[in-house]
């Protein structure tokens, strides 16, 4: 699947993974991820375009109240997000392990290289 997984996209996927079955609103996602609308919505559009997110208009609970647009993972989106969350967690662990290993070694001598 051709989808650029930027840090911001990973943040959005992460926000969706919390209570993945529930519908989420754009502004709530913006608050949770700290992303501005100009960054968040292109990501949501891309995810929806790749059929990883499904979108729906909320049925108005009270008369006169405007409906809101809601977003939720499709089954494929949930699989994709879980796979990438695992891959990224493994990547982060590798980075930590590498850092710990290099901490224990003497600093390389620039004259030798």
């Amino acid at each position: 699947m051709k989808l650029r997984l930027s840090l911001q996209t990973l943040l959005v996927l992460d926000a969706f993974l919390e209570q993945a079955e529930e519908w989420k609103y754009g502004y709530d996602l913006s608050r949770v991820t700290g992303l501005k609308s100009g960054t968040l919505y292109p990501i949501l559009m891309r995810l929806a375009g790749h059929k990883l997110l499904e979108t729906e208009w909320e049925a108005a609970s009270e008369p006169g109240k405007p409906p809101r647009h809601m977003y939720r993972f499709t089954p494929e989106g949930l699989r994709f997000a879980r796979a990438n969350a695992t891959a990224n967690a493994r990547g982060a662990l590798d980075q930590v392990a590498l850092g710990l290993t290099t901490l224990g070694q003497p600093a390389p001598n620039p004259a030798e290289s």
């Binding site: 754009g26 501005k36 609308s37 960054t39 919505y41 292109p42 979108t55 809101r68 647009h69």
Partner: protein
């Protein structure tokens, strides 16, 4: 309701009106979210970001349309390809002329003293578009001959129109 919120609402409603069909649902979604944002400036920044998102989404739709047109062009025979090129050239020329005219209109609004001068009129309807056409024709003639021919045809029609106008009114 304060000024920034009013402006933000007006901006997103304007975006909703001009957005292409495939972006309209997203624009409406961003507009609805504004009711749940506290703070005047936060709403304004939300609207500005949303406008950028919609314009980018619309631009990607146009890019897809152009790509599909060029794919169609690749599958056509020689005559069809040339006809499409001429058509695209004419459309581009009209769009360029429209843009030049709009820029001069805006300049007339910003500097009202220019509005009734005759040179602004000639600049808008003849000089600027024709200069742009000549540059475009020279640049495209070898690589995209049919497109250049389309621009040339539009330029000639515009010049002819001006000549007829001058003959009748002077």
């Amino acid at each position: 309701m304060g000024g920034p919120r009013k402006f933000a609402g007006a901006l997103l409603r304007a975006v909703l009106r001009i957005a292409p069909a495939e972006s309209r649902d997203w624009a409406r979604a961003m507009l609805r979210e504004m009711d749940f944002i506290e703070g005047e400036w936060a709403v304004l920044f939300w609207a500005l970001g949303s406008t950028t998102s919609i314009l980018r989404h619309a631009a990607s739709g146009w890019r897809r349309w152009f790509r599909s047109k060029s794919n169609q062009e690749a599958g056509m025979n020689s005559t069809g390809r040339k006809a499409l090129g001429v058509g695209l050239g004419m459309l581009s020329a009209l769009a360029l002329a429209g843009c030049a005219f709009a820029v001069l209109r805006i300049a007339g609004t910003v500097f009202p003293e220019l509005r009734h001068s005759s040179w602004e009129y000639w600049l808008g309807v003849l000089i600027v578009p024709e200069i742009v056409f000549v540059i475009a024709i020279v640049m495209l003639w070898r690589k995209r001959g049919p497109v250049a021919a389309g621009i040339l045809a539009t330029g000639l029609v515009m010049a002819l129109h001006v000549a007829v106008h001058l003959t009748l009114h002077w």
